[in-house]
Every structure is written in structure tokens, then in C-alpha cells.
């Protein structure tokens, strides 16, 4: 049975009417330059937290030949995760971890993270990532926080339309399965 017209229209409507994060829509319309400010209206983060999440997510996944984290709506995704998916303990850990990360930045570079030069912001994030991935200093809340932030950023980005379809590859309706083909025929990692 081919899908009837009513169903087809309904499906299209679902796709078109689906949730799109505002920054993502704006990013597409404005040619993708949507940082470092706050491009969504944070409901729960205060202004500094929102800017922090925007800046750090873009350090983790920057604009390159494809848009980066904030252009894909990642800061809004992180806010929604932290304030609606997390339980209270996890939320507290996230928010105090954010402060601890700033404290580490102050210790090393004399300033909170937001106020560092972009180059220093990258270097500091990179060093925290190396410590965290290496399994070192994970009892340090600021370092552990970085890994949470990295995971949230990647999760938000690669499940966004930009991340899934531009940076990675995604087919809404593949229509067939082939179990063993040259990688070049796909070209990029499947988003899912």
C-alpha cells in the first residue's frame, strides 16, 4: 500500500512543523554567525550562565565549513536538558560545576572563563578535556563538569538538524538497507 495523500500531507506537516530551535533557524537565515551572544531567550539560565554555555559549546564544536554548536541551537538544548531532564541533584552538580570551572580558569589565567581571550578559552578547555579524558582530576568538579558539558554539547549538536545532516549524514527515509558497501558511498558517519 502506498501511503495515501492524507497521510503524506500529515507527514510533511509534521516535518515542517517540528520543533526548530530559534538559533538554528536564525543561523540558517542569517548565514550562520550567531555568537558569542545569547541568541535564544533563556528561561532558567541567568545571563552569564547562558553566555558561558554558548561560548563553551562553540569552543567544543565551532563553526567550520558547517555551522557550530550555538548556530545549531545547542545552548537551548543544554538548558532544556539541565532544567527539565535532570533531577535536582544533577542540576545542582551542573550549576556548581560551572562555577568550579570558572574558579579553575581564575586560578590559572586570572579571570573567569567568559572574560578570557578566545585563544586562551580554547587552550583552557583543551587542557581540561585532556585531564578529564585521561581520567585525571575527575574528582575536581570543574574538570568533571567539562566532560558533562562536552557530552551535552555533542548530544545536542549531533541530534540537531545541522549537526546530523550537515556535519554528519542522516537520511529521513533510507528506503533500503545495504549491509556492506564502500565507506566512500556514504562519505560520513551516520548521525544515527
Amino acid at each position: 500500500m502506498s501511503m495515501d495523500r492524507r497521510e503524506a500531507i500529515k507527514r510533511t506537516a509534521l516535518i515542517m512543523g517540528g520543533l526548530v530551535f530559534a538559533p538554528s533557524a536564525m543561523g540558517v537565515l542569517n548565514g550562520c554567525k550567531a555568537r558569542p551572544g545569547v541568541d535564544w531567550n533563556p528561561e532558567f539560565f541567568d545571563n552569564d550562565q547562558a553566555r558561558f554555555v554558548t561560548v563553551l559549546s562553540d569552543i567544543i564544536i565551532p563553526d567550520t565549513d558547517t555551522p557550530g554548536a550555538s548556530a545549531a541551537g545547542v545552548p537551548a538544548f543544554i538548558e532544556e536538558m539541565v532544567f527539565t531532564a535532570y533531577d535536582e541533584d544533577a542540576r545542582e552538580r551542573f550549576l556548581s560545576g560551572l562555577e568550579a570551572f570558572n574558579d579553575l580558569a581564575r586560578e590559572e589565567h586570572g579571570n573567569r572563563y567568559l572574560d578570557l581571550d578566545p585563544e586562551v578559552q580554547f587552550q583552557f578547555a583543551d587542557s581540561q578535556n585532556r585531564l578529564a579524558v585521561g581520567g585525571e582530576h575527575l574528582d575536581e568538579p570543574g574538570t568533571a563538569f567539562f566532560l558533562v558539558m562536552k557530552e551535552l554539547t555533542m548530544m545536542g549538536y549531533f541530534t540537531s538538524e545541522i549537526g546530523a545532516t550537515q556535519t554528519l549524514r542522516y537520511e529521513k527515509v533510507p528506503g533500503r538497507y545495504e549491509g556492506c558497501i564502500p565507506f566512500d558511498e556514504v562519505g560520513k558517519t551516520w548521525a544515527t
Partner: protein, 564 residues
Amino acid sequence: MNLNLKAKKQNTYDAIVVGTGISGGWAAKELTENGLNTLVLERGRDVPHGEYPTATKEPWDLPRNDQIPHEEKKHYEKQLRTGYTIRESTKHWWVKDTDQPYEERKRFDWIRGYHVGGRSIMWGRHSYRLSDLDFEANARDGIAVDWPIRYEDIEPWYDHVERYAGISGEALGIPHFPDSQFLPPMELNCVEKHAREKIAEHFDRVLTIGRVAMLTQPHEGRGACQYRAKCIRGCPYGAYFSSNASTLPAAERTGSMTLRPHSIVNKVMYDEDAGKATGVEVIDAETGEMHEFHARIIFLNASTINTTMIMLNSRSDRFPDGLGNDSGELGHNLMDHHFRVGANGVFDGFEDKYFYGRRPTGFFIPRYRNVGNDRRDYVRGFGYQGGASRQNWWRGVQELAIGRELKEFVQSPGNWTMGMNAFGEMLPDHDNRMWLNFDETDKWGQPIVVFDCEFKENEFKMREDMKNDAAEMLEAAGFKDITTFDDPGGPGLGIHEMGTARMGRDPNTSVLNEWNQVHACKNVFVTDGACMTSAANQNPSLTYMALTARAANYAAEELKKLNL
């Protein structure tokens, strides 16, 4: 008086089917196609085929990466135990535990969906025949009671339901793992094919693609699989078997089906003089009003626990302990499959190979333990479900890279990995049971189900093999970084509840006969999981389909012969 008679006539049918899931849908189709005017009752809301609200949502259409808000979790305390059922895209298919309470003397994971189609919308779609290795098992091992049927009794009915449902898979000619009427199989990927070859070299074991009720070509008016892997949300193409896409529309087309959603069956009414059931008492889930419906035959297909609940709640002078419970076995011998044990490994190689599409199933390794000359320190056996894939962007989280380097890194897939999860047979045991607490009632005034059920020694012994064999096969196939896992969870987690109204030859030790009739009340048939005398290790739905079609056609013939 006249008014009452008229009301009764309006509420009288040839047959009543209670439940619209896998087995209820089949009962509806077979009974109506035999010309019987059939009332089909469903306790939940209607779900016409195609009305699957999240079926075409993409990852970015779903908030929180498809997680539900923390605030909502309190409604799904037990339904959340699977880890995969309660998502933003699927939560509407599952009951809220806050609305549908039950008691646990021991942990039991009762994972349910109440709506037209039941769990035929969310099922795993794996479809395997049982064989005489299974039907003879209880008699051979001296456990519980013997099945009253053998493979030859059910074989033509497997054929019958498979031709309609559409089962894709590979014919293997293994006697204890009988082939179905197959549509073309889905394809194994590179690493699964490699593993299949290596496992066959080292062991007398076969890795094959899952046999699944999914269409690899258009079939019976339904569309072929589009490889989106969003099955659990409902398939707009009708590409997998569900009551909504398949059996209920067929029953509807006969013009003989009346479908009544929001109808909670409270009890089966029994007429002592006639020695028969006369109908069912129904609570309207929306209004709370009580209605009576009458019929010559009644099919209970409410799902294992709910079917037995209805029977236990159907108390009369003749059946003080529940309809058909002369044996005292009603509610006992509760089974599930035990699983969540196996191994994972990483494969070096095939780095230049990938796949296209999201194949919504994996491979299967049929049972090989306690088959032929193989003898273990436990009885029965297990099969494996598994799959190979390539690591995706997740691997970037634990990588040294961030920034541009991270983005580029995850654009190439990582290593191939493969996992396998064993599903083992759970023995029927009189002590594993459910019953009703009549002192506590839910919001419709129905008694609360109580579970007292656990995995026992045979299951735990089997799990050693289930774990070690998986690691052994991965090793033989050249995988590295092999890790094993073993976390049984509670019974019920397999969502394959079985038993509690078992079939058997002797009315003194079983509830149902060889035609799924209640021994002591022949116009009531039970053809859902409650009827299972043993669990086997295979996913059970295909067997429910076949038993239902067989019983429904028998019932229709007996009605014509005026034997019921």
C-alpha cells in the same frame, strides 16, 4: 421486561474477543472471517492505523534527545525499568504506573500498553516457531505438565499466520528451529557475515538474520520496510505486523466486527444451569458505567496477566476461586524469558566498509545447548540476539580532541563493534505466581494484581553459559576488547509474560485443553501468553498467533456443529 430483552439482544453477539493485541487481533480476524458477528473489546483508547503521532518525528523534532521531563518520571516508575520504553516519542504507548498500580512481593516488571493494538505496536517483531524440542520438553524433563499438543498440530497454523503476517528471514532447515513461510531476509552486514563464517568454522552454531514480522517487499496491502528504525512509534507504511495495520482492518472489512474501546472487562459471566459462560461484564473506562455483553463464545486475549486477572475475578458458586480454576493452577507457573546477559567486542578490520539504512533488527543464533548430544548441568537452552555496527559520534566524548579537530574526528566512523544478548528459557514453577488482592482496588474498582515470581537455579546456571558462550564466539571470530555483562533485572523485563492458565491434558493439573478451551467451561478460549505450558527460548508472539488462529477456527466449526 420487553425493554430488557431488547437491550440484551442489542448487546448479544456470536463471539466476544477481549483484547486487541497480537492474539486478540488474530481472534477478531479469524472469527469474523468465519462469519461470526464479533464484539471486540479493548480497555484503552482507539488507535486507527496511521495515527501514530511521533512516527515521522526526526531527532531534532524531539526535545531532550527524546528523554521525558524528570517531572514526568514519577508516573512511570516501573515502566521505566526497561530503559527504552518511556521516551518522549513513545510514552503515549505505555501505561502510567500511577494509574495502573500493582504489588510486588518480589520485583516483577509488568510493562504494558493499553490501547487498540496493545503491544503489537511496540513489540520486537522477532518471530520464531517452537518445535518438538520445546513441546516435548516438560514431559522429557518431568517438569510441570506436558503440552497437550505437538509441532504437527500447530505447524499448519504457523503456515497460515505467517503467510498473512509476513515474516522475513532465512530458511536453514534446522529440525529444532523450523523454517517459516519466509519473505526475503534482511541483509547481515560485513562484520556479522564474518562472524557467521568464523562461528560456523569453530562451533556447530548458526548466526542468521533475525526472523522478523517485517516486510522486505509489499505484502497483503502493506508497504515494505523503509529502514527508518522508528518501529516502536508505529509504522505509517504498515511495514511490520501489528493488529492496527493487519488483523483489525481485515476483521473490519468483513463487516462483522464491532470494536469497542474504553471497555475494561471486569468478569466473565457464567450460567451454572447451562454450564457455560454467557458473556462479559464491562466497565466503561470513561464513564465508569457497567455494561453486559453476551455471546456464544468468548476469547480472552487481554494479555497474560490481564486474562488471568479476569478469570480470577470471575468468581461464582461453581468457580469460587476463579473461572475454570478447578485445578488451582490459575495464576501459577508465571514465566518470562531471562536475558540481559552476553558479551560485546571490538573488531579490527573492514575500516573501508559501511552500511546504508537503519536496519530495524539484528542477527539471531538459535539454540544449540541441550540439543542432540549436548548435555549441560541445566535443562533447556537459549538463543542470542545481537548486531554489529560502527562507533558513531559518541566515541568523540572520550577523545582528546575538541573544536575543529573533534568535528573532523567524528565525521569518520570508529571501529566495528558487535554485541550479543542471550534470551533463555525460564522454567514453569508452581511457586512463581500472581494473584488478586481484593482488599485494594484501582480507580475503576478492580482488584490489584500481586506478583511473587523469581528466577531460580536452572536459570542462573544457564546464565553462565549465556555469558561465556557469547565471549567465546566473539573471541573465535577475532574480536578484541571483549567484555561480558550479566544483569537479569526482574522477571517481566523481557515483556514476554507467559503461563498462569496453562494448557494441559488433565483438568486436575491445567486450566486449558488442547484447543485452548477452559477445561470446565468449553465456550471460553484463552489464546494469549497465559496458555503457555512452557516458555521455550523463542520470542513467543508468533506462537500466540498460530494458537489463536487454530483455536478460533476450531471454535467456529464447533459452533456450526452446535457443540458449544
